[in-house]
Amino acid sequence: MTGQAPTPVQMERQRQRARRYTRPGFLIQLALLACLVAGPMLMPSFRVMDLVAKIMIFAVAVASFDIILGYTGIISFAHGMFFGLGAYSVALICHYSQPVQYHHLLLAGLLAALISAVVAVVISALSLRVKAIFFAMVTLAVAEFCHILGYQWSSLTKGEDGVSFKLPGVFNADWSGGSLWGTQINGRLLVYYLILVVAVLLFVGLVRFVRSPVGRVLKAIRDNEQRATALGYRVFRYRVLSTVFGSLVSSLCGALFAMWLSYVNPDTVLGTPLMLNILLMVIIGGLGTVYGGILGAAFIKIAETWLPDLQKLALSLWPKVEFMQRLAERWILLFGILYILSVLFFPKGVVGTLRDRAEVRRLRRLGRP
């Protein structure tokens, strides 16, 4: 301590630090984590576990997309492609190495990170120099190319049929280790916990990244590029950094996704529907919030699991009208309309809007001492 009296800003920071373990936000996080850990024990249903695992993976993927779109203001249509690169590196390494061992998984993760980092550096170094808009177009083209490559390079990727593979040792779906407190311990459950651990680590990493000095610079660039340049920040480098970081996390998510399904094919991990899903999730959750990813992913994935019921409903309500059934089949249409409406009228998404309200309330409280 220097002996000087703390400034008001320092005092406010200290107060916030002292409160950090009793904040409602922290308690919600803790409760969510507890639910995720205890979930498979409390609800031993495969459908629920499958849903939760997918939500976790997509929450991180969407949050990493938010780093690029929401915090840096760049549109990348290659986020799904990076997801697919990660998924394919796990799938191919596990498929072609006999017998598959634990270090292969580690190797696959490293390979996914390396490939996606190199590709992201090349793409962004080429197209971010000019204008952020070029980046959108170049990524769209490259992503489509990778999708086609996934189909055509069938000697490696087995084309349309996709690659199915087995995970090593205890992660293998056939492995069984008895039961604990009435819950079957098997390979699926252990993969679930692996996903949980990695996803939480990645998510914490993303949150730390956003709150770091680099994250602040990114926000500054997004809000006023000229000013950030004038302050001496190398805008181009920061943009490349954020794109590479986001893409790398996305590829790791893809690797987790492949491990969960033990199967990949070009349409599910490289295609446009995946990219559109991620876009939808990030818009609904809220741009520039990171936590929005959880809500967006949960909303879309839960809706997706319920939509078959919607089709049955349509079938029972209008058994004769083929048009209504086709409409119910095309649920992406509903999502698309929701997406357009939220871009137009609700640009901050659920989390952003809630945060704005909280901020207004806080300022009002400060205004009335």
């Binding site: 959108a136 769209l140 249409l333 698309g336 357009i340």
Partner: protein
């Protein structure tokens, strides 16, 4: 117009489906697969007109309802036109079906001419004629008429044109409609040429359009023309040698151009 429209591919697909629907309806009258030359020409003309109308209406709707709210914000333009393209493609799947459809081609346009041992597909000739006519028409309007001057000035500086008393919003709506209508006509020509259409055909062609624009440079028709020639030739030659790498060759060209001239061949630095 400084609008990034990723829904252009959807207009293309809608045009193809409109043409397909008209040809199917006319086939009920016996005009298409069995008709005379006059009936064949008339049915193709009607199909193109239907595509033109559908494209115009969709363009009007999209511009008025959605795009006018996001002028000047590129990020939102990309996001929202992506959404619009998704919705339009889904509506196609609702109205027709998600599967491929076979387009009926009028009898008089099938087959090919044989000019000194060179086989020329009949419809290719039609496509080239229509394409040149559209290009000449657009160039004439843009270069020779007062409307063209207003549009070019409006692209350069919106506010000044507005202060001179022209309703630039209405004019830009018209330009957008014209663009959408032409994309739809192109789609319907493509459908008749390929004899097969899918709901995803818009996106497939959008990729080429993007590569062409990036290579040629934004805001330059001549640049786009050069880019289109390069992309088309490279695609065909590479497809002949190594079929699987055809799109890859185009992306490679794009990368090289971006390295040498980051603004595209004819683009101006902004």
């Amino acid at each position: 117009m400084d609008v990034l429209n990723l829904a252009h591919g959807a207009f293309f697909a809608w045009g193809a489906y409109a043409g397909f629907a008209v040809l199917n309806a006319l086939n009920g009258l016996g005009w298409v697969e069995t008709g005379t030359l006059g009936q064949g020409i008339l049915s193709v003309l009607l199909a193109l007109l239907a595509a033109l109308a559908i494209g115009g209406v969709l363009g009007l709707f999209l511009e008025r309802v959605i795009i006018q709210r996001v002028y000047g914000d590129h990020l939102k333009q990309i996001l929202i036109t992506m959404g619009a393209s998704m919705v339009l493609a889904e509506v196609i799947k609702v109205l027709w079906s998600p599967n491929n459809q076979t387009v009926l081609v009028p009898l008089s346009f099938t087959g090919s001419y044989d000019v000194m041992d060179v086989v020329i597909n009949k419809f290719r000739v039609v496509a080239i004629v229509v394409g040149l006519a559209v290009y000449a028409g657009v160039m004439a309007v843009m270069q020779k008429t007062k409307l063209g001057i207003i549009i070019r000035a409006g692209v350069e500086n919106r506010e000044v044109v507005q202060t001179l008393g022209y309703n630039i919003n209405r004019i830009f709506t018209g330009v957008f409609m014209a663009g959408a209508a032409l994309a739809a006509v192109g789609g319907s020509m493509w459908g008749i040429f390929r004899e097969q259409i899918t709901p995803a055909m818009g996106d497939e062609n959008l990729i080429f359009a993007l590569i062409v624009v990036i290579i040629g440079g934004m805001g330059s028709v001549t640049g786009s023309f050069l880019g289109a020639c390069m992309v088309g030739l490279a695609f065909n030659y590479v497809a002949y040698l190594v079929p699987k790498l055809a799109l890859g060759a185009n992306i490679l060209i794009m990368v090289i151009i971006l390295l040498i001239k980051p603004w595209g061949l004819m683009g101006r630095e902004q």
